[in-house]
């Protein structure tokens, strides 16, 4: 039974990889927005510009890159989680639901596949930013950054699965993007430190799990952060764990 579970996770992952690699336009499309953000904002604000709340002399591009990597992880993970909806729409979910496999294992398989695609996109954005002049502190920082990326990924895929399980069709997809994904991104401090928000908005930023993801990425990649990286890490761990449980719970309740 254990071996079979691994095989199920593997085949869910394999399917996601095949679909991802066969949809070239999806890869390019998903990289376009973060790339334009990097180009327009990172290049637009030159280094002489000093952002309040950020140490003197910090290049804006260096400040921005971790935020944009966080954003890439957020969007591609939510997309991966919500792809349950497309399976529902095209009927394939029924094929998965009648299989003699525990629902938790199916969700884990989906996370494995979605996380891999999200990480590929996040890493590509990281590589692009190196060409634009982003400077990394050290190698250990990159490994730590990957850990933060993975936690953001797992958390938001789980969240996406939970949301998709509660929805009937793809109609509500853009609603989710406008009212959940974009605010999550904008409140996370990807563009400027959350301390610059007006005081009434700050609690919202502190409730946003991506805030700690972006902060942790900043700590690992440029050595500047607002919270302790340990705090970032623990909060993200809890967030992703809760989301995996929530995602599996709602998914197991879906009727197709």
């Amino acid at each position: 039974m254990k071996a079979n579970n691994l095989q199920v996770i593997y085949v869910m992952w394999l399917r996601e990889m095949k679909r991802f690699l066969r949809a070239k336009s999806r890869i390019i499309g998903s990289l376009a927005m973060p790339f334009f953000f990097l180009l327009a904002m990172g290049m637009g604000f030159n280094s002489g510009f000093n952002l309040p709340g950020v140490p003197q002399g910090t290049n804006y591009l260096d400040f921005l890159v971790p935020g944009i990597i966080g954003m890439t992880m957020l969007f591609s993970s939510m997309f991966a989680g919500l792809s349950v909806l497309w399976d529902k729409e095209f009927g394939f979910l029924k094929e998965i639901m009648v299989a003699p496999v525990s629902r938790l294992v199916i969700v884990l398989g989906r996370i494995a596949g979605g996380l891999t695609t999200a990480l590929i996109q996040g890493i590509l954005i990281f590589i692009i930013s190196l060409f634009l002049g982003f400077k990394v502190v050290n190698l250990f920082g990159i490994i730590l950054a990957l850990l933060f990326m993975a936690l953001i990924g797992v958390g938001f895929i789980g969240f996406g699965v939970a949301v998709a399980s509660k929805m009937e069709d793809t109609q509500g997809f853009s609603l989710i993007m406008q009212f959940i994904v974009f605010p999550t991104f904008l409140l996370s401090g990807a563009f400027f430190p959350v301390t610059n928000f007006p005081s009434w908005m700050r609690p919202l930023a502190y409730l946003d799990p991506l805030t700690y993801g972006v902060d942790g990425l900043r700590a690992s990649l440029i050595g500047f952060s607002q919270f302790s990286p340990i705090l970032d890490l623990s909060l993200l761990l809890i967030f992703s764990l809760v989301m995996v449980i929530l995602g599996s719970w709602f998914f197991s309740k879906t009727e197709v």
């Binding site: 079979n4 095989q7 199920v8 593997y10 085949v11 394999l14 399917r15 095949k18 679909r19 066969r22 949809a23 095209f90 009927g91 394939f92 979910l93 029924k94 094929e95 998965i96 639901m97 009648v98 299989a99 003699p100 496999v101 009727e255 197709v256």
Partner: protein
């Protein structure tokens, strides 16, 4: 052994009983048909038996496993072909089968052997490496049947297996169904609203209407209930002709409507010459035309529900529309 045992199964949607207290049994190795119009509750019944939907009342066993308490055992024993396509269009035919085989825990050797076998059964082996989105509707349906068989299921559920397919493809799919029932000894439960499909394939048929089973028997017995063939005779004066026909010994039942008289009898084709020997002139009427009709399942449906399946479908659709509207208004 019983392949399926259903007892008092009920499922409600918005207070409407989609499946209303039905009970039936399917024998091992049988092809069993659920025949009824769209919206009669066939798909809902299948969904409950395949663990996709929870019944509100009643219980059922599939291959001796309880559909509520032994879901994984049930899932392991069954294969399903859904009414709407359930394939991944971005994978090839073979990849879809491989995905399925791994979900059901088949090892590498079995996987490879079985993929070949089932593809050959539905004659798709030369299309194995083509992306499913480039398959025709009929090919997709055949691939789904092949997939349903991958893990050697004991019971195969086919929900409207030939819906929307052309006559030729439909024939071919019928042949596959008969072949796999014979070769693999798979018990088959199929739903359909095509009379000739149920007649051709099924050993026993349950006619289902408004969520209830109205009658269940073999196709031959169902048609016998109607009292054999119907000879319809158009006459110049039905008042004069009626008492004459009424006295004929081989007439089992007689009906008249709009100047036409219907006689129920056995072997109607042999009775027509006898009718011609009646001395019409002296009795004061003339036979204008004779029409012989062998009973079909359509007649059986009409007899038990009071409507043809087509008429019933229209009223079902109306009813569903009203139910939908009600749901959106809330």
């Amino acid at each position: 052994m019983l392949a399926i045992e259903v007892k008092n199964l009920t499922k409600k949607f918005n207070g409407l009983k989609a499946v209303n207290n039905i009970s039936f049994q399917v024998n091992e190795g049988e092809i069993f048909g659920l025949l009824g119009p769209n919206g009669a509750g066939k798909t809902t019944t299948i969904k409950m038996l395949t663990t996709l939907t929870k019944p509100d009342e009643g219980e059922a066993k599939v291959w001796d496993f309880n559909i509520l308490k032994q879901k994984n055992e049930v899932r392991n024993s069954i294969g399903i072909v859904f009414q709407e396509p359930a394939l991944d269009n971005h994978l090839t035919g073979e990849e879809n089968l491989d995905f399925h085989a791994r979900l059901y825990g088949l090892n590498k050797e079995t996987r490879e052997k079985r993929i070949k076998e089932v593809l050959e059964l539905v004659e798709l082996h030369d299309k194995a490496d083509v992306l499913v989105k480039n398959y025709s509707g009929g090919m997709q349906r055949r691939l789904e049947i092949a997939r349903g068989l991958m893990h050697y299921p004991k019971v195969l559920f086919l929900d409207e297996p030939t819906l929307g397919l052309d006559a030729q493809t439909r024939r071919r799919i019928w042949e596959y169904i008969l072949r796999l029932n014979k070769k693999e000894k798979t018990t088959i439960v199929l739903t359909t609203h095509y009379m000739e499909e149920a007649d051709y394939l099924c050993q026993r048929i349950a006619i289902i209407d408004f969520g209830k089973i109205v009658v269940l028997d073999t196709p031959a017995n169902l048609k016998n209930i109607l009292g054999g063939d119907v000879v319809s005779i158009e006459v110049t004066s039905s008042q004069k002709a009626f008492p004459v026909f009424q006295k004929i010994s081989w007439v089992k039942k007689i009906n008249q409507h709009n100047g036409t008289i219907d006689l129920n009898c056995e072997q109607g084709e042999k009775k027509i010459p006898l009718l011609m020997k009646i001395d019409q002139k002296n009795l004061g009427f003339e036979i204008k035309s004779v029409n012989l009709r062998k009973p079909t399942l359509e007649d059986v449906f009409l007899r038990f529900t009071g409507k043809t399946i087509r008429e019933r479908e229209v009223s079902q659709t109306e009813k569903n529309k009203i139910a939908m509207r009600r749901r959106f208004q809330r």
